[in-house]
């Protein structure tokens, strides 16, 4: 039953390539948002570390991939990998700051770090293009064969493929002893220490992995859009990631995918209907979902399935 639903979901995702040929660009955005939300879920939903600055890693990944391409290295897979590694490294370096104080102090640190990175990218216009954005990103064909096309076919398949691989890797990770330890830390960090677990070291590892995956998502955006704007580091991106998790359901990777899909598609539709007012309806949907009970869309589906 569960596996059937999983297979159906991925087939639906792939099938949307033929079902909605006019929306491949939007769908690629969905896969990128989903990857970002999944990375956030590992941190927030599993390890219980709340952050308001996850866009820092998304943005760093986007700029690394973008700048590499501008500087003459447009090979997509290696660019993607380097972007992910850079973001993971930033995560590892900043984790001690975030995990140092209490929960609220950590939250402020994530916010502060993301703001700093945003302003730094703004200032370093010689490298990032500043407020004008990074122009001239040229990505080479995938596998040296498949050129990124105007209709977003290759972008769709590339983004979905990377999402799928990362999702499966994280799905594996949360089912290991390490993943169980993260859930234990979220449940009761004091008891985790009392059974001999180095809590901070576990959280640092989770933080680095989550940051790395967020960096991959950012790199995907840079490579498929062939453009990077300061927007990749903006606060609203961090906040939207949390909204996607709440909408889809926290601590269950598929919830992040559902939430990201619902949010991105709703955003698109509402922005077409009421360009000034779309956030009102996102807000209304969020309140309704919270009223409907725990677990977001995934929780709702589970209850309907019973």
């Amino acid at each position: 039953m569960r596996y059937a639903a999983e297979v159906a979901l991925w087939l639906l995702a792939l099938g949307s390539y033929w079902l909605f040929p006019d929306y491949l660009g939007l769908l690629a955005q969905v896969w990128i948002a989903a990857l970002f939300a999944v990375s956030l879920d590992l941190l927030v939903g599993y390890a219980g570390v709340v952050t308001l600055g996850h866009a820092a890693f998304f943005g760093l990944g986007a700029y690394v991939a973008g700048i590499l391409a501008v500087q003459g290295w447009g090979e997509p897979f290696s660019g993607l990998l380097l972007a992910g590694l850079a973001a993971a490294l930033l995560g590892l370096l900043t984790a001690p700051l975030v995990l140092r104080g209490g929960e609220l102090a950590g939250l402020m640190v994530t916010l502060g770090l993301a703001l700093m990175l945003y302003e730094a990218a703004n200032k370093a216009a010689f490298l990032t293009g500043g407020a004008d954005g990074l122009q001239g990103v040229e990505i080479w064909p995938l596998f040296g064969r498949f050129r990124f096309d105007l209709y977003g076919r290759i972008a769709f398949l590339y983004a979905l493929g990377v999402l799928f691989l990362c999702f499966m890797a994280l799905r594996f990770l949360v089912a290991t002893p390490f993943g169980l330890a993260l859930r234990g830390i979220r449940g009761n960090a004091l008891r985790m220490a009392a059974i001999g677990t180095p809590v901070r070291r576990r959280l640092m590892a989770a933080y680095a992995v989550s940051a790395g995956v967020a960096g991959l998502a950012g790199a995907l955006l840079a490579q498929t859009a062939q453009f990077v704007s300061l927007d990749v580091l903006a606060f609203h991106r961090s906040a939207e990631g949390l909204l996607m998790l709440l909408i889809g359901g926290l601590g269950a990777l598929y919830g992040a995918v559902l939430g990201a899909a619902a949010f991105t598609v709703a955003h698109h539709l509402l922005a077409e209907m009421t360009p000034q007012f779309w956030e009102f309806w996102i807000g209304a949907a969020l309140v309704m979902l919270v009223m409907l009970g725990r677990g977001g869309m995934l929780g709702l589906l589970r209850r309907l399935g019973r």
């Binding site: 594996f172 990770l173 089912a175 290991t176 002893p177 390490f178 993943g179 169980l180 330890a181 859930r183 234990g184 449940g187 009761n188 004091l190 008891r191 985790m192 220490a193 009392a194 059974i195 001999g196 677990t197 180095p198 809590v199 070291r201 576990r202 590892a205």
Partner: protein, 254 residues
């Protein structure tokens, strides 16, 4: 001196208040010792100092000859110094089986394994299941969410998590707190049946349990050691009777 656990001049101030005042005591290997004292005597603070939940203001904690005063809690646990909590510290959303498996994995040094799924760690899961079965958890109880279990079971899980670590020194902070009398005996019997190489310090309010369990008793009052001795000696001790009169009057003859 083959003490399993020893303190030397252990002291803890909170601002101007001294909660634990120059406490030196030792827990021999295999001890069945109790720590008693009136409310506010500093018992829980002392446990927090021993386990590393709180840093000491002065003095040392020595575990099996090694000074562990500067070590954080998880490193003391890895050296065999394990505690339970007066107020249950459990994983509400995990099942007892998952919780105990976590402890077993950590003890076995597999707590951070990210390359092999949990379901391929059969030995650890079987060990956790066997421990829970020994503590009379039914299969249904072992796999239910912890926060749905009755209170007595959650107190037993508190102990199961400690036992899963195979401690050398076990600090039990009021293990039977809030448990109805019939069940509290079961809790203590479980503990008393532990192998003799485990040194146990029982911090307890219930004198009935203390006199049933302990071979030696340390009395704490106003943060300092007031007396130490056999149960019979403690019962006759004049200073103890003075500090403790009401409760001692109800204690059975030991």
């Amino acid at each position: 001196m083959n003490a399993a656990l020893e303190t030397r001049g252990l002291t803890r101030h909170f601002g101007g208040f001294t909660a634990v005042d120059d406490v030196s005591f030792s827990l021999p290997a295999g001890a069945r010792q109790a720590l008693i004292g009136p409310n506010g005597a500093g018992k829980t603070t002392l446990v927090n100092l021993l386990s590393g939940a709180l840093p000491a203001s002065a003095g040392q904690v020595v575990l099996g000859g090694e000074d562990v005063s500067a070590l954080p809690m998880h490193l003391r646990v890895q050296r065999g110094l394990v505690r339970t909590f007066q107020i249950s510290q459990l994983f509400a959303e995990l099942s007892p089986l998952e919780s105990v498996t976590l402890a077993v994995l950590q003890r076995a040094g597999r707590g951070a394994v990210w390359w092999r799924p949990l379901r391929r760690h059969r030995a650890e899961q079987d060990e956790a299941a066997a421990l829970l079965a020994r503590l009379r958890f039914s299969d249904a109880e072992a796999t239910a969410r912890t926060d749905l279990l009755p209170y007595g079971k959650r107190r037993m899980l508190e102990i199961a998590l400690a036992l899963a670590l195979k401690p050398r020194v076990l600090l039990l902070d009021e293990p039977a707190a809030g448990v109805p009398p019939g069940e509290s005996r079961e809790v203590l019997d479980t503990v008393a049946a532990l192998p003799r190489d485990v040194a146990i310090l029982l911090i307890e309010h219930d004198m009935d349990l203390v006199f049933r369990f302990a071979e030696r008793i340390t009395v704490l009052a106003l943060g300092a050691v007031l007396a130490e001795g056999t149960p019979a000696g403690i019962q006759r001790h004049p200073a103890v009777r003075e500090a403790y009169l009401g409760e001692m009057a109800h204690a059975p003859a030991a």
